[in-house]
Each structure stands twice: as structure tokens, then as C-alpha cells.
């Protein structure tokens, strides 16, 4: 019996187009993702072979999410077919058994549901064969990836989804309930994702993910490019456990569902009691037929129409809110959102203060998907409500105008969306309060969620209504709507049309900032919303015209009815809307395309390429004058968002040849004029902002010339996308690169992405010149600027009366003039030509700190008044950093150290001479409650402070390894200050995150991983993350004193010196000298090679209690050392290294690790080693390199619990 049901099911589906359509869709999606970098599924695989086994395997995983829909379609149809065709009475009265009926149907449908997954296989196999695919990125076909993709994801996920959806559908006999089951799985996946975000919860997340996709990502996170191009994840360890767990759960559920299924026409109720049968009426006396019905006045006035609209809105609103699907989807959304709100975390496992904009982002990321599902589903439901309920004939024959119907359904949708939004706000506020944050900023919630986001949703709803009214087929309507939304979002990119006016319902993107509110974005948001609002209103008018009333669906009849409707007030209203919309569109167009022109994305890519092709060969490295002194006069007009800059630069010919041509990069998007002594403009390339000047007479060696310029930005109207978030009402922050010209060809402007370059037919390039030990001419530029060295600078900066403006150097003068504030700053020490200018309404905390030589340094924190949370920590960090650095590296060079908050349009902190702008989005709202938490504010401040030595005193030359001198050493310096303040445990925790980030990022390296001494400026994961781990380890091995002494020598030799500028060898050589002979290998391993370890405990460490009450611990460890090449291919090298082995005690409450009971440093060789320790206390854990000093591919197996022997 089972066999025949099963075969019937298969044959049934093989005749249905759905199987092949799904197969085709999957194949197309995967084919697109494989063969083009513009199509992306899940994540970017751009740095790998297009058909890398990792990519192939991941595709099966990601497609599980899409299969959720497809499997649902198959199995729920299989489960409900007899009920929807009402053949259940016939089937259930045959001798078929329940089990064979259900299992046959289920397994048949499941097997068929696997067919579309073959589309993944096809896509991965065919994609690489396309002629446009770069042959260099095609690897061999790895069948194992496909097999494991099917075994790990395809088959189990289909089964798991199938059981849940089929089971619910069969038992409840309801389509909606089964869709809800599918949604539940999605929520499970998302919750597992939330767990995977924190290093301490990874294991939990690995098991919780019902699709094992998060598990896959987590287990492969340290895979390098070579790994990803060659390896396949095997079903072992946590992956295997996850698969067994979920398949097991599904199998048990299947049995339960089969038991619960009632093999009869009567449904066994799952959720609630069946509505009581209505008793047939008794045959009672005929009620009075006489006595006329009350005659009520009929009114067809507009007042009646509004009342009708209200009544219909109420009925529809209640209908949605009471429907089971709505409640359940909403509950899922809330669950999803609730987890995110409760678990929200920032970097290093730290929590942030739950400021309102963060909450809003979380709500958007977790709730809106569900809201959009509700919107999509219920707009269709509302349009079809009367017809589905079969009240349409009664309803359509009533005398209400049809606009009442259309409009009230739109209003009902509005009501539902508004209610959901308000509910979400409520949850967010509760989440804030529960974290002890009470500055709710209801205004921000109101504007972002109840106005802007709600409007965006309503625009979608209007489109959906129109589509459903026009298409007049429910499912085609859903499809068309989704198709249109996707189309209007994605079609314009390839067509090179960037105008937001073409992207239905979208507005220029905006960022709310505590400091600046909606600031510069307001005008654009208002106009774009008005533009779409009117457009949506026109769509609604169209909806009214096309709305199906009555039974005739023929096109001729519908257009006849549309003409009948299009008269009177509807005609007037539509005409009015159309005219207003056209006028608005004209105004928006004028502002975004005429008043504020912009360069289209593709065009700017071509321009970037042209800069290189046209000028690099001739002008890169051409001898140019150097800037030695700069005077700025800057006027900031915060309210107007205008800026005026006048600069006077002194240029010197430092070389030994005359200069006859000046290559000038003018500030883009600013109106500028230049006045250069002895020079005249000879050529201009306006598109690229390049100008050439000829010196007449030529500039002789040693000659000095003045260069005056003025640049201004006057903001007008609003833009398609705001171009300058640097100029805003409160918190203007810009650097000199933005507002002043640059001299000479700038390699930094070249296109860096390797694949993009190939597309533009640009040659492969190294981001920086190759490291050269004996550089002479190649070290003449530092990596910050190639046209200035150590400059003197004076700035007069003015701003509005309520703001403070800050420029580099000491404040010399401050005055008011014409209602504006003026400040004059002067650099105390010649510094790098790298300056920031800031203006905002600040609170200032001030302190003084005295240098060892007695000089006073002003410590200042400028902050947005409400952001007081961490200013004390910043001040403390400034003080501690200055103390440690001046003691160990040399004196501080400025008379002030300033931290200045700027709006969160960018989220970084950056060090300028004596000045450290710091985004409101990071430290200012970080929330450090637990004493074990990493004090990120303290750390970032210390890091930026360290740059005052490492970058602003010692600056590397424009060459690989430059950032070792600045970023890595600043990391080290910051860690040392942090260690003094918070102790070693915090550092260990910090370094675990650094190591995790390093190992993770290696896999997504787009070019080549380089060892530290040759690191590229763009390789943050190497110079920050690996650098931190490596330097701390070196300090551990050679001692803080020796290391700091070496660093001090570097400062003494290279501080404020150059050109020529030092290379990374200036440091590495110095460290080599400071390192004893026995440890010389360290310098090679840490700086000159990419070295990794695989250290682990073998078996379980054991202990015996000795007679004297002490414990003897026996421990076997193994160690392997690897060297990786630039793509991550590893070769084993012999170990001959000093490595710690030790025993730890039980951790105290709330601590992650216990106190070391024994710790020994041994010179280990490759292979296994056995150690015995005698310790005083009960041992807890034992292992190799327990402090994670070494970069270890799998750090988790370094320690294991000690068990009694």
C-alpha cells in the first residue's frame, strides 16, 4: 500500500510544472551567484574560485532558506490535497492504512522536493563555463562538496522542513498553520544566529540552528582562501551532532504527527475547541409578519461616505487583527525582535547603551521582514476578502461608491501597520528601560518608525493594492507585486540610473545622529516622501478605477466600468493629484539633477580607472614641490551647511632638479580657485579634478613659492544622496584632504578591488610598493602624504556663536565678530600635514597633566551634552596613556590632547596631531557595566593617544609594512596601558577576540595575506588584530622593559625625521637586537612569516590526590607549527619553540578562567609531550599555551578539564 501511494505521489509531481519551475529558479539563482559578482547569495565569495568547494557547499546551505518555501509548497499540498479537492471521504473509506497513506504522501513529496536542489548542482557546474567568467578563478570540480552539501544541508533540511510543514498541515488541515510552521524554523535559524555572535555562546548556536547554516559558517570561520578553495566540511563534531539532533527531533515529530492525524473526515482539533454545532431551529411559530419595518432615511451624502469608510475600515481592521495567521506571524516577529533586543551586543562582546537609534536598527533588522510579510499577504487578502468570503454579490450591489471600499481597505492596512509599529516601539522602550536606559527619545521613534518607515510601508501597500486590483488573480497578484518591488529596486543599477526618484517608495538614505538629529537630511526626506506620497495616491486612484466590482472580469467590461467611475470628484481628485505630483516631481528633479548634479556610480568607476590609465605612467613619483607651511582661514556656517576655506601654502623645491610642471588634484565637488606664484594653468581635466600648472620660470632647487587657494561649498536645496555629511548643523567634521588641493599623482585614488580592476582592464597591482631594506629614493614619502613632510600650521576658524570650532594646535586667540566666533590655532610642533577641523555645540571637560619635564598639557574632552557616560573613562585613559607613553617612549610633543565627538555618519576614531576625533557611534555610548568587560572606551582612547608617538612622531614610508610602525605599535601601547589599569585577565579576553577576528578575516582576504613586516595599509586584520597578539606575546617573551627600550630607541632615532622615512625594518631590526639569541626565531616567526600553531591537549589530563593533600596532574600535549603562504596554504615546519604548559584552578564565580596553579615554559619539539605537575589545590583545567599567546588555528582545544584518575 505504501509503495503505491509513494509512487502515485512521485508520478503526480513529475507531471506538475512546479517541480521544473523550482529547479529552474534555483539553477538560475545559483548560476547567477557563481558566474557574476553582482549577484550574491548569502555572502560574498569574490576572493575565492567561483566554483570553490566552500562556495558550492555553502550554496546548498543558503538555498535551504529558499527551499523552505519550496518544500513547504510541495509537502503542504501533498498533505492537504484530499481536503482541498474534497476527496477525503472517498480516500478515507478505502482500506488504505493511515501510516502508509501519510508516509507515502510525505516521503514522495520530500523526495520530489529534493529535485529543485539539483538546480544548485547545475548552477555550480554550469556557472564557471560561462565565457565572461575569469578563467583564473575556475578551480577543479569537487564532487565531494556537492555530496556533502546534499548530505549536510539538502537532505536533512528538506526532511526537517517537510516534517514540520507536512505534519502541521495534515493535522490542522490548514495551509496557514503550515506556513506558520515554516516561519517558526526561520525564527529558530535567526535566534541561533544571535547566539553565534558571542564567542562564549558559539556552541549553543551551533546546535540550535535547524538548518546548520550558522553552524557551517561558524565551523569554517577560520578557513583561509586556500582552505576554502580545496576543503569540504565533513560531517563530524558539532556539525554531526547538529544534524543528528535536528533529524532526530524531526523523526520524533513525524511519529507524533502521524499519531495525531485523524484518518476520518472529522478533524481532530489541534488548537482549540471546535465551534459548537449550531442547533437547527425549532419549528416555532411564525413571527409577526405585520407591522411595517421602520423606514429609515437613506443618505448618499459625502458624510455618509465617510461613515461608510469608517465602518468598512473597522470591519477589515478587526478581520485582520483577529485572524490566526496575523497573530502568529506577529508573534514570530516579536519573538525574533525580542531576542535581538535582549541580546544586542557591540564589539568585543560589549553591550552598548541602548540608544534609540540602535533600537530602531534592531527592530528594522528583526521585525520588518515579518511586517512586510503581513503587508504583502493582507493587502491581497483585503482586495479578495469579499470574493473569498463570497459576500461580493451582496457587497457589490450596495450603493456605496467604490472609492469607499478601496480607501477603507488601504486605511485598514494603515491601521494594522501603525499598530505593529507602535507595538515595536513599545517593545524597544521596554528593552531600553530593562537595561537601565531611560532617555527614550520618543520623538526619534515617532519620526523614524511611525512616520518615515510607516510611509515607506504604505507606499508598498498602495502598489500592492493597485497590482491586485489590476491583475485580478490573487496569486499572480502576489507574484507581480514582489516582482515589481524587486524590479524597481534592482533594474536601475545595470541601466546606470542612480536617481532615487526611480526607486519606488525610496528616499535618499539618512542617518539619525544624537548630535545632529536628522540634520542635513530633513529637506530631502520631506520632498521625496511628498513625491512618493502623491504618486501612491495616484496609484490608489488607479486602484479605485480598476477595482473589480460585480462578476464580469472581461477587459471590455472593466474598462467600461472604469470609465463610468472616472467622473465627478474622482476625476477632479486624480487630476489634482497628477498635477501636484508632476510639480513635485519637477521640483525634486530640479534639486537632485540640476541644482545638485552627481556622478553616477558606474561613471565614477570609469573615472577612477581613467585617473590611473591617463596619469599614472607619466606622473606617479614625478618630482613635485613639498608643502612646508600652511595657513588656513576657514568659515563654517553650520546652519546653512556652507563652508569657505582659504589657504596659503608655502612650497619648496626640496630636490636637486628644477620643477616646471605642477600636477594638482583639486578638491572634488567644491568650488575652488587657485593662485600660484610664478605658475599658470596650462591644462585642466575637469571630470577628474586634475589641473596642470606650468612654472615660469621653472622652480629651482631650494626655491620657495606661495600657493593661495580658496574653496567653498554652498549647499543648495537637497540632493539625490547627501554628498557631504561632513558639513552639518551640529558636528561638522572634515579633514584637510577634503577641502584642500593635493599635489602630485595620488596612488591612493586608484581602484583597489581586484575584480573591479580586472573588469576595467587595469593591470594587477600591489597596494603599496614592495618593502625594500635599503631604500634611498623609495622612502622619500610617508604613507600619509606624498607632498608634505613636517609642516607648520596656523588656522583661523570661525563658526556660529553657539558652537566651538577646533583645529590642530594650541588655541592662541578667541574672539567674536559679527555674531560669529573666531578661533586661532597654531601647531606647537611641526607635524604631518594631516589636519581635522570640527565645529559643534560642545560641553568640554578639562584637566591638566604635567609632563615629566614639567610642561603642562591640557586634556580636553569635547562632547555632545547628553553623552556623559564615558567621558571620565576617556579622561582617565588620556592621563594613563600619557603617563605610560611619556615614560616609555619619550616626551609628548603637543601642549594639548583633545578628544572630540563627531556625529555617527562615520564610526571610527582617528588621531590627528594632538587631536582625536571620536565618533558618537562608538565609545561615547559604549556601556561598560561588568568589571570583566573589556573597556573599549579606555582602549580606543589609548590607541589613538599612542598614535601621537606611533604615526605622528614615527611615520613609516609609503611602502609595505608602514602600518606596523603606526597601527601595530599603537595596539601594543594601548594594551599595555590597559593591562596596567585592568590586569592580565582582561588582556587575555581582549586578545581572544583579536585572535578570533584575525583568523576569521584571513579567509576573506581579497588579495594576499602578508606577514607583519610587509603588511599593507588596508590589512587591518593583520596590523591591528594579529599585531596585538604578536606584540603582546613578544613582550611576554623578552619582557616589557626590553621591548619598550627598543621602542624608545626607534622614537629617538626616527621621531619627527624624514624624508627618508623609516621602513618596518627600523623596528624589526631593533627588536632583533633586543631579543636574546635563544629567542631569535621569534622575530622571524612573528614579523617575517605567517606562523600558526596547532596546539592541543591529547586525551584527558588526569590527577591523583597525593598523601600530603596535594595533587599530581598528568598531561599530554601535542604541538604542530605551520607556515602559511599569502593565500593560506600551510606547510608544517619543525617546532623548536618555548611554549607554556600549565594547570589552572577552578574559576571563581563569574570568571571565565581560574588562577594558574602551575605554569612552566618548555622548549617543545614537534609531536606529543607528557608533563607531570604537583599542585596545592584541586586542579580544574590543564593544557598547552593556556593564555593563547600563540596564534592557534583551533584555540579551544588548548585546555581540557582535569579528571580524577
Amino acid at each position: 500500500m505504501f509503495g503505491s501511494v509513494f509512487r502515485f505521489e512521485i508520478r503526480y509531481w513529475l507531471r506538475q510544472p512546479m517541480v521544473y519551475v523550482f529547479l529552474f529558479i534555483n539553477a538560475l539563482l545559483v548560476f547567477g551567484a557563481i558566474s557574476s559578482d553582482n549577484v550574491q547569495i548569502g555572502q560574498s565569495f569574490d576572493n575565492l574560485n567561483v566554483n570553490a568547494p566552500y562556495t558550492a557547499q555553502a550554496m546548498y546551505g543558503y538555498m535551504s532558506l529558499i527551499m523552505l518555501l519550496m518544500v513547504t509548497a510541495f509537502v503542504q499540498s501533498a498533505a492537504l490535497r484530499d481536503f482541498s479537492y474534497q476527496t477525503e471521504q472517498i480516500i478515507f473509506s478505502t482500506p488504505l492504512s493511515k501510516v502508509s497513506y501519510l508516509l507515502g504522501r510525505f516521503l514522495g513529496a520530500c523526495l520530489i522536493a529534493l529535485v529543485p536542489l539539483l538546480g544548485v548542482t547545475l548552477g555550480v557546474l554550469i556557472g564557471p563555463m560561462m565565457p565572461w567568467v575569469d578563467p583564473e578563478r575556475v578551480g577543479p570540480v569537487v564532487w565531494e562538496a556537492h555530496i556533502q552539501g546534499m548530505l549536510l544541508f539538502g537532505i536533512p533540511n528538506t526532511f526537517i522542513i517537510g516534517v514540520i510543514v507536512f505534519g502541521i498541515a495534515a493535522v490542522s488541515r490548514s495551509t496557514i498553520a503550515s506556513f506558520v510552521g515554516a516561519l517558526a524554523l526561520l525564527v529558530g535559524y535567526s535566534i541561533a544566529g544571535a547566539f553565534l555572535g558571542n564567542l562564549d555562546n558559539e556552541q549553543m548556536g551551533n546546535l540550535l540552528d535547524p538548518f546548520a547554516l550558522g553552524t557551517f559558517q561558524n565551523l569554517t570561520k577560520y578557513w583561509t582562501v586556500v582552505d576554502r578553495n580545496t576543503l569540504v566540511l565533513q560531517p563530524t563534531g558539532e556539525m554531526l551532532v547538529n544534524r543528528l539532533l535536528w533529524t532526530g527531533v524531526a523523526a520524533v515529530l513525524l511519529v507524533l504527527f502521524i499519531r495525531a492525524f485523524s484518518f476520518s473526515v472529522e478533524r481532530r482539533s489541534l488548537f482549540r475547541k471546535k465551534a459548537p454545532e449550531v442547533e437547527p431551529d425549532e419549528f416555532e411559530a411564525v413571527p409577526s409578519l405585520h407591522g411595517a419595518l421602520p423606514v429609515s432615511a437613506l443618505s448618499f451624502s459625502s458624510g455618509t461616505h465617510w461613515r461608510q469608510m469608517w465602518s468598512q475600515t473597522r470591519v477589515d481592521l478587526k478581520g485582520i487583527v483577529k485572524s490566526t495567521a496575523f497573530i502568529i506571524i506577529l508573534l514570530f516577529g516579536i519573538t525574533n525582535m525580542g531576542f535581538a533586543l535582549a541580546l544586542s551586543e557591540g564589539a568585543y562582546g560589549l553591550s552598548q547603551w541602548p540608544v534609540t537609534y540602535q533600537m530602531i536598527n534592531l527592530v528594522r533588522g528583526t521585525m520588518y521582514l515579518f511586517t512586510i510579510v503581513i503587508l504583502t499577504f493582507y493587502t491581497g487578502e483585503l482586495v479578495w476578502k469579499e470574493r473569498v468570503a463570497r459576500v461580493d454579490e451582496i457587497y457589490d450591489a450596495l450603493p456605496h461608491p467604490i472609492w469607499v471600499t478601496a480607501l477603507s481597505k488601504f486605511l485598514a492596512m494603515t491601521g494594522v501597520l501603525l499598530a505593529i509599529q507602535m507595538l515595536a516601539v513599545g517593545f524597544a522602550v521596554v528593552a531600553q528601560a530593562s537595561k537601565g536606559y531611560f532617555n527614550f527619545e520618543l520623538g526619534v521613534y515617532f519620526w523614524e518608525m511611525l512616520v518615515l518607515d510607516l510611509l515607506a510601508m504604505l507606499f508598498l501597500a498602495a502598489l500592492s493594492f493597485l497590482v491586485h486590483a489590476a491583475v485580478n488573480n490573487k496569486y499572480l497578484g502576489y507574484f507581480m507585486f514582489i516582482f515589481l518591488v524587486i524590479l524597481t529596486t534592482f533594474i536601475w543599477g545595470p541601466l546606470e540610473l542612480d536617481s532615487v526618484m526611480l526607486r519606488y517608495g525610496q528616499t535618499p538614505s539618512y542617518t539619525y545622529s544624537d548630535m545632529n538629529g536628522f540634520g542635513p537630511f530633513v529637506l530631502g526626506l520631506i520632498w521625496f516622501n511628498l513625491y512618493w506620497f502623491l504618486f501612491a495616491a495616484i496609484l490608489l486612484a488607479g486602484t479605485v478605477l480598476l477595482w473589480q466590482r460585480g462578476k464580469d472580469t472581461a477587459l471590455s467590461v472593466r474598462s467600461f466600468n472604469a470609465r463610468l467611475r472616472f467622473r465627478g470628484s474622482l476625476r477632479l481628485a486624480t487630476g489634482f493629484l497628477a498635477v501636484t505630483w508632476l510639480v513635485t516631481a519637477g521640483f525634486v528633479f530640479y534639486n537632485t539633477e540640476v541644482l545638485n548634479e552627481y556622478t553616477r556610480t558606474k561613471e565614477s568607476e570609469r573615472l577612477t580607472a581613467r585617473y590611473e590609465t591617463d596619469y599614472k605612467a607619466l606622473y606617479d613619483g614625478m618630482h613635485q614641490p613639498r608643502v612646508v607651511d600652511i595657513r588656513y582661514e576657514i568659515d563654517v556656517y553650520p546652519g546653512e551647511r556652507d563652508i569657505g576655506v582659504r589657504g596659503e601654502m608655502l612650497m619648496v623645491n626640496r630636490g636637486d632638479a628644477p620643477i616646471d610642471t605642477l600636477f594638482l588634484n583639486t578638491p572634488s565637488n567644491l568650488e575652488s580657485s587657485f593662485e600660484i606664484e610664478n605658475a599658470s594653468l596650462v591644462r585642466e581635466d575637469e571630470d577628474l579634478n586634475v589641473q596642470f600648472y606650468a612654472f615660469e620660470p621653472a622652480m629651482q632647487p631650494g626655491d620657495t613659492l606661495t600657493f593661495r587657494y580658496s574653496s567653498e561649498y554652498v549647499s543648495e536645496g537637497f540632493e539625490n544622496q547627501l554628498s557631504f555629511t561632513q558639513f552639518v548643523p551640529n558636528g561638522s567634521f572634515f579633514n584637510n584632504g577634503l577641502v584642500s588641493p593635493q599635489i602630485g599623482y595620488q596612488p591612493g585614488n586608484e581602484m583597489s578591488d581586484r575584480n573591479e580592476r580586472r573588469k576595467m582592464e587595469l593591470p594587477e597591482r600591489d597596494p603599496m610598493p614592495t618593502l625594500d631594506r635599503d631604500c634611498t629614493t623609495a622612502c622619500m614619502d610617508n604613507y600619509i602624504s606624498n607632498f608634505s613632510d613636517w609642516v607648520t600650521m596656523e588656522t583661523v576658524i570661525s563658526t556660529s556663536a553657539d558652537q566651538i570650532a577646533i583645529a590642530p594646535g594650541s588655541l592662541q586667540e578667541e574672539w567674536e565678530e559679527d555674531g560669529r566666533r573666531y578661533f586661532r590655532y597654531e601647531l606647537d610642533t611641526p607635524s604631518l600635514g594631516f589636519a581635522s577641523f570640527i565645529s559643534a555645540d560642545y560641553q568640554v571637560d578639562r584637566e591638566e597633566w604635567v609632563q615629566p619635564n614639567g610642561d603642562v598639557v591640557d586634556l580636553e574632552v569635547y562632547y555632545h551634552a547628553p553623552h556623559t557616560y564615558n567621558t571620565d573613562k576617556m579622561m582617565n585613559s588620556l592621563r594613563k596613556s600619557l603617563t605610560y607613553f611619556s615614560e616609555n617612549f619619550g616626551p609628548y610633543a603637543h601642549n594639548q590632547a583633545r578628544i572630540i565627538e563627531f556625529p555617527r555618519y562615520a564610526t571610527f576614531a582617528q588621531a590627528f596631531p594632538g587631536t582625536m576625533p571620536y565618533s558618537e557611534g562608538i565609545g561615547f555610548i559604549a556601556r561598560i557595566v561588568d568589571e570583566d568587560d573589556i573597556d573599549m572606551v579606555f582602549y580606543v582612547t589609548a590607541h589613538e593617544m599612542a598614535h601621537q608617538w606611533w604615526a605622528h612622531q614615527v611615520i613609516g614610508s609609503w611602502m609595505e609594512g608602514a602600518t606596523l610602525l603606526s597601527e601595530t605599535l599603537s595596539q601594543y601601547a594601548a594594551i599595555m596601558v590597559m593591562e596596567k589599569e585592568y590586569g592580565r585577565d582582561q588582556i587575555f579576553k581582549f586578545l581572544r577576540y583579536e585572535m578570533d577576528a584575525y583568523l576569521r578575516s584571513r579567509g576573506s582576504e581579497a588579495l594576499k595575506e602578508k606577514p607583519l613586516h610587509r603588511v599593507d595599509a588596508s590589512q587591518g586584520y593583520v596590523h591591528y588584530r594579529k599585531g596585538a597578539v604578536v606584540l603582546y606575546y613578544l613582550k611576554e617573551m623578552i619582557g616589557e622593559e626590553a621591548l619598550n627600550a627598543a621602542l624608545r630607541e626607534v622614537v629617538e632615532e626616527h621621531g619627527y625625521s624624514g624624508p627618508p622615512y623609516p621602513t618596518s625594518y627600523a623596528l624589526v631590526d631593533r627588536l632583533r637586537e633586543a631579543t636574546p639569541d635563544s629567542l631569535q626565531y621569534l622575530i622571524t616567526d612573528l614579523f617575517e612569516e605567517i606562523t600558526l600553531f596547532d596546539n592541543r591537549v591529547v586525551g584527558n589530563p588526569t590527577y591523583v590526590e597525593l598523601e600530603d593533600g596535594r595533587y599530581e596532574v598528568t598531561l599530554e600535549v601535542s604541538t604542530t607549527k605551520l607556515q602559511a603562504d599569502s593565500l593560506g596554504a600551510e606547510t608544517e615546519v619543525p617546532v623548536n619553540d618555548f611554549i607554556d604548559v600549565g594547570v589552572l584552578g577552578e574559576p571563581e564565580d563569574g570568571k571565565e578562567r581560574g588562577r594558574p596553579l602551575a605554569m612552566e615554559r618548555h622548549r617543545l619539539t614537534t609531536g606529543t609531550h607528557t608533563f607531570t605537575f604537583v599542585v596545592d589545590e584541586m586542579p580544574w583545567e590543564a593544557g598547552i599555551d593556556p593564555s593563547y599567546f600563540l596564534i592557534d588555528r583551533i584555540p579551544d582545544d588548548n585546555l581540557k578539564r582535569v579528571r580524577a584518575n
Binding site: 437613506l298 455618509t304 478581520g319 454579490e393
Partner: protein, 290 residues
């Protein structure tokens, strides 16, 4: 007020011609529309109820052009479709109130009074708070009647209203209709001949979209007076009789076929004169015998 239908034709996109040049005048009172399933009754009624559009012809209700002044028709229309459902999760009283608003009963007080009266009249008062979706077929039909009566309509169209009603309910419904139908136009479509005989002052027979008869039931009977004959026959005899005579109908009486035939003279051969019924009129028209 008179409903005047002229030469109304309707063809569906699939080629089925539902109405072929139907012309009718309908005055105040009950008007029965007789025809077998698929005759075009519902199409005609839906056109009159503004739910469908005719391809040709015209229809007017007094001064109102039914085909173009749909809003005006709807203001005076009460319509009970052949099949209808209800919104889920809404009570009878709420739904009726909502429909009354849409009908134009704007004042809340009037509406409350009207809804109460209607629900009492159709005997649903005790069940008014129950969800409509839980109503039995008969209760639902009564609700349908109640909504058709909102707003004192001048034109009431009821399409197969008694399907699914038990005999008692059917009686009550017809009494109600008869009472209401005194001073307005009530069009009742049915395929049950007896209904028309009992209720209607005028009637029409349509089949395959064509109007076969229009007039009073009495006049219709008159046309066949003395021309209908009946005979009990054996099963084997049926085919030969069907060839020989204009057979109006074949019915089983106590398990034996009784045939009615149309004949101007006494056909002899064991036939006896039968009392003419409306059913005879109906079938003879449909089979184009007379």
C-alpha cells in the same frame, strides 16, 4: 415604477450565450422567473443588480438606466444572490449594521432600530451575537433576506431564495416576500414551478437565454387548457410513446412512469385528460412543444 428590459443579450468570453435578446416589462408585484439550471436566470438578475454588464440591449427602472446609472439602481435595490457567504469572525448584528451603513442608513439611531427590526423579523434576534460563520444554511439564508430588505428597496431581486430552506422556513419566507411585494417590484427566480404558482402575479420562462413565455401564470395555464393528457405506461413502452406523442414530462408515480403529453385532440390509446399544471406549461415551453 416599471422595469423595462429591451433586447438584452449577454455572451460570456468562453462563447456561452447566456441571454439572447430578452425583452420584458415588469410591474409592481411579484414576478417569477422560471427556467432550468443554466437558463440564464442568474445572468439576467445580476445584470439587473448591476453586477454584470449586457453586451446589447437596454434596461431601465423608471427613469434610471440600469446599465449606466448603476449607483442609482443600487440605491433602490435589495438583492439576495443565489449563493453567498459571510465575513469570518463577525456577528450577525455587526455585519447587518455594516451593510446598513453601506446601504446609506447613515444615522446610527435609525440603523440600530432597523437592524433590530430586521433581525426580529427574520427570527435571528436571539442569535444576533453569534458569528455568522457558525450559522446553519437556513439561518444564513434568513440573514440574506434581512440584508436585502435594508433601506426599503423599490426593486428586490431574489435568486433561488428557497434553496436549502426546510418547508417551514420556505413558507415563512414566502409570506414575508408576499407581504413586501405588494407595492414594489420583486423578482424571484426559481426552478421550482410551484413557488411561482403560489406567489407570483406575473412570470416569465427562459431557457438557453431565450424568453419563452411572459405573462400571468393563469394565462399560461389557459394556453394549455384541455390539451394535456396523461397515461401510466410500462417502461418498455416509453420509447415508442416518446416517438409518437409530444411528451411533456415523464414522472414516476408509485414506481411506474406516468407521461404527460400535449395534444389538441384526445389521443385515445389509454390517455386520459390531465389537470393542467404550471409544470406542464414549463416543460412544454422548454421542449418547445407549444
Amino acid at each position: 415604477m416599471q422595469l423595462q428590459i429591451d433586447n438584452l443579450s449577454k455572451t460570456y468570453p468562453n462563447g456561452v450565450q447566456a441571454l439572447k435578446g430578452v425583452s420584458l416589462s415588469i410591474d409592481k408585484g411579484m414576478f417569477g422567473l422560471l427556467g432550468p439550471n443554466g437558463a440564464g436566470k442568474s445572468t439576467l438578475m445580476r445584470i439587473l443588480a448591476t453586477l454584470q454588464d449586457a453586451d446589447e440591449g437596454s434596461a431601465s427602472l423608471g427613469e434610471i438606466n440600469v446599465l449606466t446609472q448603476k449607483e442609482d439602481v443600487r440605491k433602490v435595490l435589495g438583492y439576495l444572490p443565489q449563493e453567498f457567504g459571510v465575513y469570518p469572525k463577525i456577528s450577525a448584528v455587526d455585519m447587518l449594521d455594516h451593510l446598513a451603513v453601506l446601504k446609506g442608513v447613515s444615522s446610527a439611531g435609525d440603523r440600530k432600530e432597523l437592524v433590530e427590526a430586521l433581525l426580529t423579523r427574520v427570527n435571528l434576534w436571539d442569535d444576533r451575537k453569534k458569528a455568522l460563520s457558525g450559522y446553519s444554511g437556513g439561518m444564513k439564508q434568513r440573514f440574506g433576506i434581512a440584508q436585502a430588505l435594508i433601506g426599503d428597496p423599490r426593486l428586490i431581486i431574489v435568486d433561488e431564495p428557497t434553496a436549502g430552506l426546510d418547508p417551514g422556513e420556505r413558507n415563512r419566507f414566502y409570506n414575508l416576500l408576499a407581504e413586501i411585494g405588494e407595492d414594489r417590484i420583486v423578482i424571484l427566480s426559481t426552478h421550482i414551478v410551484e413557488d411561482v404558482r403560489e406567489l407570483c402575479t406575473n412570470m416569465a420562462v427562459i431557457d438557453k437565454g431565450e424568453l419563452l413565455y411572459a405573462g400571468s401564470p393563469d394565462a399560461a395555464l389557459e394556453t394549455l387548457a384541455g390539451r394535456v393528457w396523461e397515461k401510466t405506461v410500462a417502461k418498455e413502452e416509453l420509447p415508442s410513446h416518446q416517438e409518437m406523442y409530444k411528451v411533456i414530462s415523464t414522472k414516476l408515480v408509485a414506481g411506474k412512469p406516468v407521461i404527460h403529453i400535449l395534444s389538441d385532440q384526445d389521443p385515445g390509446n389509454g390517455f386520459r385528460s390531465a389537470e393542467t399544471t404550471l409544470e406542464d406549461v414549463f416543460f412544454s415551453r422548454i421542449f418547445r412543444l407549444a
